[in-house]
């Protein structure tokens, strides 16, 4: 008998999770929404520049096909093409929907949506709400989900952390195990389907542009439970961020989209190296290209500002009033954290880890992982961006992925049979409580925060812009050492109420396991493609490496096993990527 009122668990309340919740609620599902932070504080708020859709409102002849071509080309042909094409076709409708929800997009004098340029395209394709577009989009979806919460269809579990999936004897996902971040109670929740939308993994790199909550802990836990993790080695390093002691704060690509220029002094004059090296795209080359150029200028040519790793991002030639309307949010960040006014002096920026193109493997149609009953959408999965994500494509991929995952999870749930035995739930709860008990009993000498710092340093040094096989081997040895040391740590704070050190220490283990997926994936891939650059293998190698990396956890060896899958290139034949 079909299940008339399916119950979904959605983990993560950023753009992807909220989009999934909204689309599933509309189809009659009951939803329990889990998030480590109140959903309105999710990392999506940090997205600044905008959201791509080929609305072609500037008379440039833009189209979803050109958006698709730019995205595939920008991703160096590693993305499976059919789903990306569907996303680009859906994007204009997504903008309309957001517009109807009241997102305060910037407007033209005629009252239409304004669009600006972004990296990796020659068209004005990016709709924006000042320079806090992610915040405004997240709020709009949060408000719509709150409507369904008011009607009783959505129940939120905020300040709850996902620990693991509950899998039955046939390996079907029947629910989740989670921990209350206040009472520290461990509980299992049954459901007809589960959607994971837990975002990025920045914390694995120590400092990044990501929020604190972006640990990748949930994805890693699922990978260790048998979910395949795809293209983990593809890590985006954003060319322009403000270096900081606690985080690297993003300075949106929209700064260059609105005319910002990158330069360093050379022979007493400004040298606009991106404009010189890439005359067609100039400052708006894709992020991997711009980041490598800045690296070269600073480390090979020794032209960093005052010998420091920094270059100028200059807006001072643009009228202050225009900057305030279009970029106000990021100017405010620079002013508050650095103390200078970017309307008057050029900003000092440097590349920073920003985004993972890799993530949980999902199929080409339904956002379904290889674990039946488990779906994934948003940054935590791998489908849309290939080897390098174009700016302003993340927001559209989050919303589109959620719009697929929600309805397909409902369909799956309607057809699914009841869970049956309570045993898998009891077993999973016991397993998680044992992990907690071991941690509480730990009396070793290792400090989790020190292990984390070493993890971040290792990953940033060896698994970001430049990859060298010898270094990657050393990095993996280091990761294994850190995992070994993790087993000897001592949790000093044994409080059993809202204990932040405890939560962090649990997440850290999962960060270490996922770090190895990134590192070993990079070591294996002997070519250069998108964000993955090896000087010793400087060219893209389609004959050997036009394939998706799949990492699966081998519990016996406690490490990832890599295998590969062909890329669906049925729509657009690969061509050399030159900007």
């Amino acid at each position: 008998m079909p299940n008339s009122s399916p119950h979904l668990l959605i983990v993560g309340g950023g753009l992807a999770g909220l989009s999934a919740a909204l689309h599933a609620a509309e189809r009659g599902a009951r939803i329990s929404l889990f998030s480590v932070v109140p959903v309105k504080r999710s990392h999506s708020v940090c997205a600044q520049g905008g959201i791509n859709a080929a609305k072609n409102l500037k008379g440039e002849g833009d189209s979803p096909w050109i958006h698709f071509d730019d995205t595939i080309f920008g991703g160096d042909f590693l993305a499976n093409q059919p789903l990306v094409k569907r996303m680009c076709e859906a994007a204009p409708g997504i903008i309309d929907l957001l517009d109807r929800m009241g997102v305060p997009f910037n407007r033209t004098p005629e009252g239409l949506l304004d669009f600006r340029r972004f990296g990796g395209t020659l068209h004005h394709r990016t709709a924006f709400a000042g320079a806090t577009t992610g915040q405004q989009l997240l709020y709009a979806l949060d408000e719509q989900v709150r409507r369904h919460e008011a009607s009783g269809q959505v129940e939120k579990f905020e300040h709850w952390e996902f620990l693991s999936a509950v899998l039955d004897d046939n390996g079907v996902c029947r629910g989740i195990c989670a921990m209350d971040l206040r009472s520290m109670e461990v509980r299992t929740f049954a459901a007809d389907a589960v959607i994971i939308a837990t975002g990025g993994i920045g914390a694995i790199f120590g400092k990044s542009t990501n929020s604190i909550a972006c640990t990748g802990s949930a994805q890693s836990a699922l990978y260790q439970q048998g979910a395949d993790y795809a293209n983990g080695e593809f890590i985006q390093v954003h060319p322009t961020a403000i270096p900081g002691e606690d985080k690297l704060r993003l300075m949106s690509e929209s700064a260059r989209g609105e005319g910002g220029r990158v330069w360093v002094p050379k022979d007493g004059k400004p040298w606009y190296f991106l404009e010189e090296w890439y005359p067609k795209y100039g400052n708006l080359v894709p992020r991997d290209v711009a980041t490598r150029a800045i690296h070269k200028v600073v480390y090979e040519l020794g032209l960093g500002l005052d010998g420091q790793p920094a270059v100028y991002l200059d807006l001072t030639h643009i009228p202050a009033h225009e900057l305030d309307i279009k970029l106000g949010g990021i100017l405010e960040i620079y002013e508050k954290f650095v103390g200078d006014d970017p309307r008057k002096v050029p900003m000092k920026v440097f590349p920073a880890m920003h985004y993972t193109m890799g993530g949980l493997w999902v199929d080409n149609e339904h956002q379904a992982t290889n674990i039946p009953g488990l779906f994934a959408c948003g940054e935590c999965e791998y489908q849309y961006h290939g080897a390098n994500r174009l700016g302003a494509n993340s927001l559209v991929s989050c919303i589109f992925g959620g719009a697929i995952a929600g309805p397909t999870a409902v369909e799956y749930a309607r057809a699914s049979t009841a869970a049956g035995s309570p045993r898998p739930f009891e077993q999973e709860k016991l397993r998680q409580e044992e992990i907690n008990a071991r941690l509480f009993a730990s009396e070793g000498s290792e400090n989790p925060f020190v292990i984390w710092k070493e993890l971040g340093r290792t990953m940033t040094e060896h698994c970001t812009v430049i990859r060298v096989n010898d270094n990657l081997r050393r990095a993996d040895a280091k990761l294994q050492e850190l995992l070994e040391r993790y087993r000897k740590l001592g949790l000093r704070d044994k409080t059993r109420w809202a204990n932040p050190a405890f939560f962090f220490t649990r997440q850290l283990y999962n960060m270490l396991q996922l770090a190895r997926v990134i590192c070993l994936g990079a070591l294996a891939r002997d070519e250069s493609r998108g964000a993955h650059y090896k000087p010793a293998f400087a060219e893209r190698d389609d004959a050997n490496w036009l394939k998706t990396t799949l990492a699966s956890f081998a519990p016996d060896a406690d490490e990832p096993r890599l295998r590969y899958q062909p890329v669906d290139i049925s729509l657009l034949p690969p061509r050399p990527r030159k900007y």
């Binding site: 909204l22 509309e26 932070v37 109140p38 309105k40 504080r41 999710s42 990392h43 708020v45 940090c46 309309d96 929907l97 517009d99 109807r100 929800m101 009241g102 305060p104 910037n106 407007r107 033209t108 009252g111 239409l112 949506l113 709400a129 806090t132 915040q135 405004q136 709020y139 709009a140 408000e143 719509q144 709150r146 409507r147 919460e149 008011a150 905020e158 206040r182 929020s211 604190i212 909550a213 900081g244 002691e245 606690d246 985080k247 704060r249 993003l250 309307i325 949010g329 960040i333 954290f337 400090n447 925060f449 000093r492 704070d493 409080t495 109420w497 809202a498 204990n499 932040p500 050190a501």
Partner: protein
């Protein structure tokens, strides 16, 4: 002050029922520190100034660029976000206290769920028919956008509520942040179709009449939202709304 250490006094509370205690910390100074960096340095090695090991300090934080609203606390007597509180600009010892108008969880962490529940109470959303394709949204002038966008930047930090003399558990007052959202949605071409329902939600206990015009809210807002203008605007709408109801319109 070119000292090479940073001193902090932190009000600790192990749980909702536990008595508050103050602890002092002294940590090495680093350039460009903010309060978050100081709290993280303490977390690495939680030992008080007089050498006593202590528990990790609980606080909420996420984006660290003042757009998520999580890290609100009272710093040197002022309600603000910890991420933008730069150590170089703070007098030492830096005192950290939790927001005290919300239920205590632990240390600097409080329960602000009332704020989100109140957004539900006032129907702070645009009532769309569905997510299916219904064409583009209503046209709006750049001037309308420039009026709505600043109101829409509220990060639900709760600083405006912390400084409001009327915001307490007795009256159930929704406060400036939530009234500002009513103004925002009543401005929107589609949102205003539900203007009456939102205004009704702002009458009765906890409604807009609880505002005492102390005008502290607008000074505490980290996003420079014109909160007192918003309260005045919604008050004007309310007068018309209530007259309309009284006259049976």
């Amino acid at each position: 002050m070119p000292a090479n250490t940073v001193r902090l006094r932190i009000k600790r509370q192990a749980g909702p029922q536990a008595p508050p205690v103050w602890e002092e910390f002294e940590i090495p100074y680093r350039p460009h520190m903010n309060v978050i960096v100081a709290l993280r340095d303490i977390a690495e090695n939680p030992v008080t100034r007089d050498g006593r090991p202590t528990s990790t300090i609980a606080y909420e934080a996420n984006c660290l660029e003042e757009v998520c609203g999580a890290c609100a606390m009272v710093i040197n007597g002022r309600a603000r976000q910890a991420c933008t509180a730069l150590v170089d600009r703070l007098e030492q010892p830096i005192s950290l206290e939790p927001l005290h108008r919300f239920p205590m969880i632990r240390d600097l962490q409080v329960d602000r769920s009332k704020l989100f529940n109140d957004l539900r109470r006032v129907k702070a959303w645009v009532p769309i028919d569905g997510t299916y394709a219904l064409g583009s949204g209503p046209r709006q002038s750049p001037q309308d956008q420039e009026q709505a966008y600043p109101l829409s930047r509220c990060i639900s930090c709760g600083n405006c509520l912390e400084v409001c003399p009327q915001y307490n558990t007795r009256t159930d007052y929704v406060g400036a942040a939530v009234i500002n959202q009513v103004r925002l949605f009543n401005l929107h071409p589609t949102g205003k179709m539900h203007r009456a329902a939102r205004l009704d939600a702002l009458t009765g206990p906890g409604g807009i009449q609880e505002c005492g015009y102390a005008e502290n809210c607008v000074k505490a807002c980290p996003k420079d939202i014109p909160l007192t203008d918003s309260i005045a605007a919604v008050n004007r709408q309310m007068v018309g709304h209530l007259w309309g109801k009284a006259l049976g319109r």
